[in-house]
Amino acid sequence: MERRGSPASRWTAADSARFKPPSVRVCFEKKKGMTVYETKRKKVDYSKWGYIFILPFFISFFIFSLIPLVDTVRYSFFEYYRSGIKEIGPNFIGMANYASLLKSDMLKYGANTLILWIIGFIPQIVIALVLAEWFVDARLKIRGTQFFKVVIYLPNLIMASAFAMLFFTMFSTNGPVNSILMSIGIIGEPIDFLGTAFGTRSLVGFMNFLMWFGNSTIMLMAAIMGISPDIFEASDLDGCNSFQRFFYITLPQIRPILAYTLITAIIGGLQMFDVPQILTNGQGTPDRTSMTLIMFLNSHLKSRNYGMAGALSVYLFIVSGILCFIVYRMTNNDDPDGSKAAAKKARKQQRKQQRRG
């Protein structure tokens, strides 16, 4: 589901200066054993090696990603599917696929996706923040943080479909969870977890939370560790309590990473598929309330309906594109605290000073 990596480390002008290739001193042989060193003005250009080394990636990207991508967009304007083993199309039909998608329940599935995502993401980010803060806090002296870090990351290593399968069995009406609850007398009748929209959605959210909170924790820990310890020490001397320290120092300082986590999680959430697919057997039961956008896409692919699936992909692409743009803008701010408002304020103040000066 969610895809994350570390934010691309930014290559600044200062770095370039540091790694500038040295001007090469070329040795010229002159008359009779006289060796004169001259500094050649022309820089040696290594950049082509860079291009050569990234070439394999671009070739494979071109063949395996770009061409299919362009094809997807192209087919979205065509009627192109399979009926039995007969291929229908491709016939050009303009925007008809897009129009019929708008008339379908696409927006409802979008809302489902959003709900499922929020149910999982809110506990995920809260728990991750708390854990990251605790693990990093030197004064808490938590033993075995390394062990806990590994353990909380473990659910992410299980294949989502296997995880969903496990939950499906555990929470089935005659499954172990109901048996346990009944035998200790909490409930009299088995609960039909997967029969209600609330139950199914909660389970999907819970699984996504379990699978991804470890990942977020580790990411946020890295962010918190990047804050200069001086600031924390200073705050201690000034008599900050831990809540103030968290809300006034930690949170503002990790805001860019937090924003990045949020946006990548949204993009990952847009592509939510395997957990609800396996848990509801691809049906989004009950009453299609846990049908996500990608499950909707998948049900078109049963008939190889490349046209309709292509159009849906284009919609998704546009939404993801907008979100990517937002994350790009947010992580590109060069202001210290990472927020737009602060950057504006800083610029204003600068101008004021200039005017005064």
Partner: protein, 466 residues
């Protein structure tokens, strides 16, 4: 300079390495091209490719096809006495994977090298119609192979021949298996509720739906469920529809009155408490548990394979607790059809295999004995019904063929169409919500319409009976 050369070589090697995967196929294809030319001259190819979804067919071929020499330990290649190899291409049925892979192969059939061509493929009753379609012409008419269905296949059950035929009545497949369904019930529950576990007497109590309902009431009074889930009875209704879901040449789905009857009866039975509310559909954990000794479910509706592959592994008690009797309505559930694929380069072998596995009476009786299949030979099954050596240990020495044979002879197969699989699957899914009381009837109808048009984009409308 040297460094630069090394760099270029390395970079090239990397680029080549990343593309190596794509390059290998066309090369090998070229060398096979020659074989194709040879094959068309009347020679048989060296490789027979068989597409299937499990190793059931392989086991049958190994058991009865006399030319089989050996099978490799991983089960992917079977060598015949003349050196021809059968390559088994197995893809699971789940989620339509098998059909996807098969469709891909069939679409490439014309351009494939001789040894890569599909020679035999299997299909199930639910989607056999998709492949026997005359226009698609992927399954060869049996007459083209040199098999005359009227004379050579006269001992097969009529409905299996109808199922494997296209709309013109040309038979394009054949099966070794025939899947009449029975009612399988628990003797211990029968004794407690009705005072007898005799199949004849229980048969009387379940002979039609009205009697069945009275019986269900009796079972309920003692705290038992008649069947486990509403999906259990679907095949009985679904197999007796008057017209196919989609009439040939149309793009409208006509939901049969029988299907609506199933919905209404299931709702009534479920609300009355004759069915176990906690079991939602088939092939899930709850359903499997309902076959265990702790369950309160009296009976299941199963064909021969269901008793052997589904009921037996889920039963945790002793043998002899289950018994079979006639179902309230004759029905067929499942069945694997063997088709010769158009364009095969091994027509002689294909013909031999089809005849050996699906027609030869001796072989079919052997399959019945060894694998408990109800096989496709009318006279053979009549003999088996009277022969006590066909008795089943699991059924406590009862001979199930006594009950299977009359059902098989009375099955009138429902008219099929290429959309059957999706219709059968989606109507059950959509109305599951309704039966469990999650949505109202109209919403379930709407959900079915949405789902079916998603699955089959060429469907334009759904009509419901008045």
């Amino acid at each position: 300079m040297k460094k630069r050369v090394v760099c270029i070589v390395l970079a090239a090697a990397m680029a080549a390495g990343s593309l190596a995967g794509c390059g290998s196929k066309p090369g090998s294809g070229g060398s096979d091209g020659g074989a194709a030319g040879e094959a068309s001259g009347g020679e048989e190819g060296k490789v027979i490719n068989i597409y299937s979804w499990n190793d059931e067919f392989r086991e049958r071929v190994e058991a009865v096809y006399p030319e089989v020499k050996e099978t490799s330990s991983d089960g992917t290649v079977t060598t015949l006495n003349d050196g021809t190899e059968i390559h088994w291409i197995i893809n699971p049925n789940q989620d339509g994977v098998y059909q996807q892979k098969l469709d891909e192969a069939l679409m490439k059939q014309a351009d494939a090298a001789a040894d890569d061509k599909v020679d035999i493929f299997l299909s199930e009753t639910d989607y056999v119609n998709k492949y026997t379609d005359a226009e698609a012409d992927v399954a060869m008419p049996l007459t083209d192979l040199g098999i005359d269905p009227d004379s050579e296949l006269s001992d097969q059950y009529e409905f299996t021949k109808v199922t494997a035929s296209d709309t013109e009545g040309v038979q394009r497949g054949s099966t070794w298996q025939c899947c009449p369904g029975l009612l399988v019930y628990r003797r211990d529950i029968a004794k407690e509720v009705f005072g007898t576990d005799d199949p004849e007497e229980i048969g009387e109590k379940v002979k039609d739906w009205d009697t069945m309902k009275a019986t269900a009431e009796e079972l309920k009074a003692k705290g038992y469920f008649t069947f486990s889930s509403y999906a259990d009875t679907f095949r009985l209704y679904g197999n007796s529809i008057e017209n196919s879901w989609v009439s040939p040449g149309e793009s409208t789905i006509k939901v049969d009155q029988k299907i609506v009857d199933w919905i209404n009866d299931s709702k009534e039975w479920l609300d009355a408490g004759y069915l176990d509310k906690t079991v939602k559909g088939q092939w899930n954990d709850d359903w499997n548990k309902a076959m265990g000794s702790a369950s309160k479910v009296f009976a299941f509706l199963f064909p021969a394979w269901g008793i052997d592959f589904t009921l037996k592994p889920n039963w945790d008690g002793e043998d002899g607790v289950w018994a079979v009797t006639n179902p309230p309505q004759e029905y067929n559930w499942g069945g694997s059809y063997v088709h010769a694929c158009t364009g095969t380069d091994n027509p002689e072998h294909v013909k031999d295999i089809i005849l050996a596995v699906t027609v030869d009476k001796e072989n079919l009786l052997k399959i019945s004995k060894d694998y408990s299949d109800f096989t496709n030979t009318t006279s053979g099954m009549q003999e088996a019904a009277k022969d006590d050596s066909y008795a089943s240990e699991f059924l406590g020495g009862q001979n199930p063929f006594t009950y299977f044979a009359p059902v098989a002879e009375n099955i009138k197969i429902a008219p099929l169409c290429a959309y059957d699989q999706g219709c059968v699957e989606l109507i059950q899914n959509s109305f599951s919500d309704y039966l469990q009381g999650k949505v109202d009837y109209d919403k379930a109808k709407a959900n079915f319409e949405t789902a079916i048009i998603e699955r089959y984009p060429d469907i334009t409308a759904v009509e419901w009976p008045e």
